[in-house]
């Protein structure tokens, strides 16, 4: 009989904080779903999450929202204030889970009489602690990877000898494989073991099963002990590559029924025995020559895989898990797609999905590009098709790295294909393509990669079709059957055009349109299919859609009523574009829907809320390419399309869609082009008399020297063709300029370089605004804490500005008004300015929502996107009366870096963006807001010892005051040569420490870091000389590797130091968002 459901009044949900590698947007999705589930039950919700750009931290999603760090200290203080009777730990990734375990262990949950909803904490601990985990699984005869837990490198070596190399090392309780890796020998083990020990007191040594298949099951269990497996997934890459780094398909493709059922039965047996109540992920290693297996790990919480499984099947795992946490049984809940059948079932899929990671390794100096057991990707895409070929080719376009699919890409330069196949990097799939083209056989590639032959056979089908297409020189000559086959295998019009035209393909756009028109004349068009959880067995009440060429019939009945408004989403999360654009997209959809129009979304990122099928009336989980967007527009026949809320991907389509007479809502494509085109924009500014940093597009080194003679060093150099490393760089002298241009980039007539004057010590200011017909309706001006030169996506941003002259603000407003008028802006836009004294220069203008829209919207408490959407739809709007001067509080947006995951990368900030996420916190003054936000991105207030190496003369001077404050507060200062001397000269005592190049002297900075004697490192890079770079790099890298807070910018260091010296942690106020009025 049904058990009674306990009534909860108020439930606390822990979020996952800033997006970081291994913990990204999937937890915004999971958390939002859980909050929705609570709300449906009439339960009050409290959310702690400093990630201000998320959907879950939006008005109305939770009753109380705290932009505070998800740490035991702050969570306890919120509990003390809010007195919830339940807590949800499973929806905020490892951050929330670890925090919850701590709260349980320290008795906080018991003290305040809070019940953990769902899986009990003991069960979580049983899965997180390796030793307990293995013991637990031994009890039910389930095989785990034989692993030895040790606390020292010596013991690790002993264990490795017993197990036999190669072994894998893992840090216990670590996020997504942090501090783990493979060791082939003792030397490698010593290096890795030490690093892992810096993250965790316990490390695990395991026998490596490299080459086995990696299979995952998502299991749900309710308190009646009823279990289902929602989805199984197979990694394309064999074991050895972290599942977050691997291409993954769902459902499994190469497993027989008997193998699937074996693993399914094991997964359920484990989940029952551990005592999961809710959702759980079980990862298996599976032999390729028998039915032998090992359990890799169990995640007793929602995970990246569960988000993927939800999107892959349409089964809302997080929502169901939250309801189960409240005491519901699966049978008591409904399938949210059919609305008639119960949630107790296992989805039947009638398509294949393919998840592909998105890396941004090019953004990091010196980073190790080889893929392994630790995660480095910053985002992912999910593609859907009815053949593997179709899905993978779609996916390879979706990752947005300039690739057109598996074939017909720009030729990659791979010096050693064998090596590139054997030791995979982020380019691995394209290396396979190249290898096939060079005559490698499926067996050869299998031997080198251990990728299952089935996947390789399917990839080879694509190669064969490409070869056949290439025998034709004109698109019109390609036989209809071949054209159809190519489309069924996911070839884009571009790929077909390039295969036929080869080097003669000059005008890309014309060629693409030629293929498009030709195939349409033959009736070769895609059909729309529904994702319905039951493979068409029951009718679906939702419109979760994708397009495929493998079909003859649409699942949607198009009315042609012109009531659709299509919003283009932001695609894969990447450095520079992430959850903030998801927030913008969701708000645009909500506004469209509220106004009685049919809201239609196109996006393909499984980590988002915008790809939740109940956020809009129709969701196309598909590509954001011109071709696919046109396909959808031709089916939908919409009233209009919104391009300005999904970041740069949709924005870039403006001109091309306009050329096809698509109704673009908001600012016209013509004006978008005038803001995007450097030359057009620049001459417009000249006409308006608006100042900008001098710049020129140049094609030879001599021209560059001439320009430098005019503007002086430093200059910002942006090549159009980058060979390796960063896409742009600041150069301070001839040597640096030559080094950068000769080593990293190409300068020629075909590949011009944009060189701009780089203004030092200037303030950077942003304006986010909404205009209608060229008139600004709403704006927010914010200032960067750091001086210009740190990418705006990495900078710490303050809103409202606290240190800007009124004159500066007035002039910025005026300039923005002129630009809005000149570009006839209707909708959202963002302008970046440089200000030195009262001299204002415009750096950039984007006629779309920017990264900071959610931040300023939430701090000002006016929804910029809602207003912008109403403007774009031509609805009446009122100019909001409120303005930033009315605010009695300050918001600080701080950046989250993931350097600890990016082995060998130099954790230094520059003109190219490197952060993976951000937080936004509110305080009564700058110091409080800075402290909250910096603590939220993982920094700790130092206990006693601080290491300073403070860069050049200017930075040294800038930090003098901060150093004095530290000294007065009783901190011990340690400083390297120059900094030490400078502090001494200014009467501040400090202990001198030595650089790695001063090897014979003691104490060594590196050793101190190694021994964890330092609590905070302030390391300001001085210049780009080799010795300086190497010394500084070693210190910075060691700080990251030993998990010691590191700051590399003088202005940020100053702000942080003053913040924690002026107030202590317990003086931080625990105020929810709505308490800031």
């Amino acid at each position: 009989m049904a058990l009674d459901i306990k009534k909860f009044n108020k439930v606390l949900l822990l979020g996952s904080g800033a997006l970081k590698i291994g913990e990204a947007g999937e937890f915004d999705y999971s958390g939002s779903q859980a909050l929705k589930a609570m709300k449906e039950e009439g339960i009050k919700t409290v959310l702690i999450n400093p990630n201000i750009a998320t959907v879950q931290t939006s008005e109305g999603v939770a009753d109380k929202i705290y932009f505070l760090p998800v740490t035991p200290y702050f969570v306890e203080r919120v509990i003390e204030k809010e007195r919830p009777d339940g807590i949800l730990l499973a929806f905020g990734g490892q951050t929330a889970l670890n925090c919850g375990v701590k709260l349980y262990e320290t008795g906080v949950l018991e003290k305040y009489n809070i019940q953990v909803l769902g899986t009990p904490v003991q069960a979580i601990m049983d899965t997180e602690d390796r030793e307990l985990f293995v013991k637990k699984l031994d009890e039910i005869d389930v095989k785990t990877i034989k692993s030895v837990a040790v606390n020292s490198v010596e013991d690790a070596h002993k264990a490795a000898q017993e197990l036999g190399y190669p072994v894998i090392i893992r840090a216990a309780y670590a996020l997504g494989g942090l501090g783990s890796g493979f060791c082939d020998n003792e030397e490698q083990l010593r290096v890795l073991g030490e690093k892992a020990l810096s993250f965790s007191p316990q490390i695990l040594v395991e026998k490596s099963l490299k080459g086995w298949k990696e299979i995952e099951y998502e299991v749900v269990r309710d308190r009646y002990d009823n279990c289902i497996t929602v989805c199984n997934m197979e990694n394309f890459d064999p074991l050895g590559i972290h599942t977050g780094e691997s291409i993954v398909v769902a459902p499994t493709q190469t497993l027989t029924n008997s193998e699937c059922q074996k693993l399914r039965e094991l997964a359920i047996r484990i989940v029952r025995h551990v005592g999961i109540v809710g959702e759980c992920n079980v990862q298996f290693a599976f032999d390729t020559d028998s039915e032998d297996y090992r359990v890799i790990e169990v995640n007793a919480r929602l995970s990246r895989s569960s988000a993927l499984a939800s999107k892959a099947t349409g089964y809302p795992l997080a929502f169901v898990a939250a309801k189960i946490g409240l005491g519901y049984g699966l049978a008591e809940l409904k399938n949210s797609v059919t609305k008639t059948t119960p949630a107790f079932f296992e989805p039947a899929i009638d398509y294949i999905v393919c998840k592909i990671p998105r890396w941004d390794l090019g953004k990091f100096q010196g980073v190790d590009r080889e893929l392994g057991s630790s995660m480095k990707s910053v985002g992912e895409v999910m593609s859907i098709g009815r053949t593997f070929e179709e899905a993978i080719q779609k996916g390879l376009r979706m990752i947005g790295q300039g690739m057109h699919g598996f074939v017909e890409n720009k030729e990659l330069v791979i010096p050693d294909i064998d090596k590139a196949l054997h030791a995979p990097t982020d380019k691995r799939i394209f290396v396979i393509s190249k290898a096939f083209r060079q005559g490698y056989t499926i067996d050869q590639i299998h031997e080198l990669t251990k990728i299952d032959r089935w996947f390789l056979q399917r990839l080879y089908n694509i190669i064969e079709t490409a070869n056949e297409l290439e025998t034709y020189n004109k698109v019109a000559d390609v036989p209809e059957e071949l054209l159809r086959l190519a489309k069924k295998q996911g070839f884009s019009d571009f790929q077909i055009a390039r295969a036929c035209l080869k080097e003669q393909m000059t005008g890309t756009e014309e060629a693409i349109l030629e293929v498009r028109n030709h195939r349409k004349s033959l009736g070769i068009t895609p059909v729309v299919k529904q994702i319905d959880t039951l493979a068409a067995e029951y009718p679906a009440q939702t419109n979760y859609l994708y397009l495929s060429y493998n079909g003859v019939e649409n699942d949607v009945d198009y009315k042609g009523d012109k009531r659709s408004v299509i919003v283009l989403g932001s695609g894969a999360y990447r450095i520079g574009s992430s959850v903030e654009f998801d927030w913008c997209s969701v708000n645009a959809l909500t506004t469209v829907r509220k106004e009685g129009w049919r809201s239609v979304m196109i996006n393909y990122n499984p980590e988002t809320v915008s790809t939740d099928y109940d956020m809009c009336d129709r969701l196309y989980f598909d590509e954001l390419t011109f071709e696919r967007v046109m396909d959808i527009i031709e089916l939908e026949n919409p009233h209009g399309v919104i391009l300005s809320v999904g970041g740069q991907i949709p924005n870039n389509l403006a001109t091309r869609l306009d050329a096809q007479n698509v109704n673009i809502l908001g600012t016209s494509a013509y004006d978008v082009d005038h803001a995007e085109d450097r030359h057009k924009f620049s001459s417009m500014l000249d006409d308006l008399g608006i100042d900008q940093p001098r710049w020129r597009e140049l094609t030879s080194l001599d021209d560059i020297y001439d320009f430098v003679a005019e503007v002086g060093y430093p200059v910002l150099v942006r090549p159009s063709y980058v060979l390796s490393g960063a896409a742009m760089n600041v150069c301070s002298n001839n040597t640096e300029l030559e080094m950068f241009l000769k080593l990293a980039a190409n300068v020629s007539k075909q590949h011009p370089v944009v060189v701009s004057e780089f203004i030092q010590n200037a303030k950077e200011i942003e304006m986010d605004a909404v205009a209608r017909d060229g008139e600004i309706l709403l704006y927010a001006i914010s200032e960067h804490i750091e001086f210009a030169g740190v990418h705006s996506g990495d900078a710490t941003i303050q809103f409202p500005p606290q240190k800007l002259y009124v004159e500066t603000m007035r002039r910025i407003k005026k300039i923005a008004g002129q630009i809005a008028q000149a570009l006839h802006i209707s909708g959202p836009f963002n302008i970046q300015f440089l200000a030195k004294n009262n001299d204002i220069k415009v750096i950039e203008c984007n006629l779309r929502a920017s990264r900071s829209f959610p931040f300023v919207s939430k701090v000002l408490k006016i929804n910029f996107i809602e207003l912008a959407t109403r403007v774009m739809m031509g609805l009446p709007v009122e100019k909001p009366a409120k303005n930033a001067f009315d605010l009695d509080y300050v918001g600080i947006k701080a950046s989250q870096f993931s350097f600890s995951r990016l082995q060998k990368a130099d954790p230094v900030l520059g003109v190219d963006m490197a952060s993976t996420g951000e937080v936004g916190c509110i305080g009564d003054d700058t110091s409080e807001a800075v402290l909250k936000s910096i603590l939220s991105v993982g920094y700790r207030i130092p206990e006693k010892n601080i290491l300073l190496s403070t860069g050049g003369a200017k930075q040294k001077a800038a930090l003098l005051d901060a150093a004095r404050t530290l000294h007065e507060k009783g901190y011990n200062l340690y400083a390297t040569g120059g900094s030490h001397q400078y502090l001494n000269e200014n009467g501040i005592p400090a202990v001198r420490v030595y650089w790695p190049t001063e090897a014979d002297k003691e104490p060594q900075a590196l050793q101190m870091l190694h021994d964890k004697q330092i609590d905070l490192v302030v390391n300001i890079p001085k210049n780009l000389t080799a010795a300086e770079l190497s010394n500084g790099y070693k210190i910075r890298r060691a700080a990251i590797d030993f998990n010691i807070p590191l700051i590399t910018n003088a202005r940020l260091a100053d702000a942080f130091i003053h913040a924690f010296c002026s107030m202590s942690e317990d003086e931080i106020q625990i105020k929810s968002w709505d308490e800031y009025k």
């Binding site: 029924n257 399914r264 119960p342 079932f345 009638d350 089935w454 086959l485 493998n550 019939e553």
Partner: protein, 357 residues
């Protein structure tokens, strides 16, 4: 591009789906049904319950892991569910011409050709499924380019059980308890599930009078087609129930026949249940199972005899999924606790049965 013969699937209502042939080149007719399982094509194709049917897989990519060898151990197939393929044709979307699996012996196409079974691919199986869902299962035919056309015949008009059943008594195992298995077209995994529990099995033809045999329990198997053809079996069961109270366990067709023996009637479902994800609840409890199913007919619960009560219910459409006798050890399941292919959750029913012996 491969050059393949074109083929058409023509439904009884005139709907045509065009595809290509990949199996044996022969036009065939039968009842068109769909299965939503994502794995297990070798098991499904050899499941005698599919006799006479043109089977469409809703999962689009089929053939990936090839087909295992037809090895026999102790009169039982090692990997198949019977001696041969029973479906009349296979309908799929995307066929894997090459396979990859350590246990595979041949491609799906080779197997179909060897067993002279028709295969058609490049079909929009989702569109087909929706069509069958809306209009109900219907007969149809596959016509292969260059092959003789055929008339559409309804396999439900003939006694398929008689075709699928064994023709003589076969004994398996040397377990202490003896179970008579009335074979209406048994899946080998049912036999394996019993043998595994130390039971010896005496497999008898569907209409065989087993009353002279010394046994501890009676098992009534799955089987194809319309249960109304099996009056002979129903009569035998009635007699057994009247004679003694030895445990009875039935699966699928076994559920139909046990129900009919109790006086109940069966009816044809609109498009049946075929797949690995059918949710079933044990009546009056919170115990739920994900089950494998393959049936086109269902027991009309309202016609059950007064001594009988529903045991399981389908949670999707509330149809009957099993019955039990109120006082005696008789029970049956409409779904397949022996799985193969499909989830193994309900295998405990075999334990329940063996405990009763």
């Amino acid at each position: 591009m491969r050059s393949l013969k074109s083929a058409s699937l023509i439904l009884d209502d005139g709907t045509i789906f065009r595809g290509k042939s990949f199996g044996y080149d022969k036009s065939v007719s039968g009842e068109v049904v769909f299965n939503t399982a994502m794995t297990g094509y070798p098991e499904s194709l050899t499941d005698p319950s599919y006799k006479g049917q043109l089977l469409a897989f809703t999962y689009p990519i089929i053939g990936n892991y090839g087909v295992p060898a037809n090895d026999f151990v102790d009169k039982l197939s090692k990997f198949y569910e019977s001696e041969s393929i029973h479906v009349k044709a296979v309908i799929i979307s995307d066929y894997s011409f090459e396979y990859s699996h350590w246990n595979a012996d041949k491609t799906l196409a080779q197997w179909l050709q060897e067993e002279k079974i028709t295969g058609i691919f490049d079909i929009d199986t989702r569109a087909l499924t929706k069509h069958l869902r809306e209009r109900g299962s219907m007969t149809g035919k596959i016509v292969i380019e260059g092959c003789d056309d055929v008339e559409i015949e309804d396999p439900n008009d003939i006694n398929l059980v008689a075709e699928a059943s064994c023709k003589e008594v076969i004994e398996y195992g040397a377990g202490s308890k003896r179970v008579v298995m009335v074979d209406c077209g048994v899946k080998h995994n049912i036999v394996r599930c019993l043998l595994k529990r130390n039971v010896s099995v005496i497999r008898v033809p569907w209409d065989y009078d087993y009353s002279h045999i010394n046994y501890d329990g009676l098992f009534i198997t799955n089987g194809p087609g319309n249960p109304d053809f099996c009056n002979a079996t129903v009569e035998n069961i009635r007699k057994t129930i009247a004679d003694n109270s030895k445990p009875i366990f039935g699966i699928c067709m076994g559920n139909h026949l046990l129900a009919k023996a109790s006086g109940a009637t069966t009816y044809k479902l609109k498009y049946g249940h075929r797949g690995h994800n059918q949710p079933v609840r044990e009546v009056g409890t919170q115990r739920c199972y994900i089950t494998t199913q393959n049936h086109g007919f269902a027991v009309d619960e309202s016609t059950l005899g007064s001594d009988w009560t529903p045991l399981f219910i389908n949670m999707n459409d509330n149809t009957n999924e099993g019955i039990r006798h109120k006082t005696r050890p008789y029970f049956s399941a409409q779904f397949h606790p022996e799985a193969s292919s499909g989830p193994t959750d309900a295998e405990v029913l075999f334990d329940d049965f063996v405990k009763l012996l």
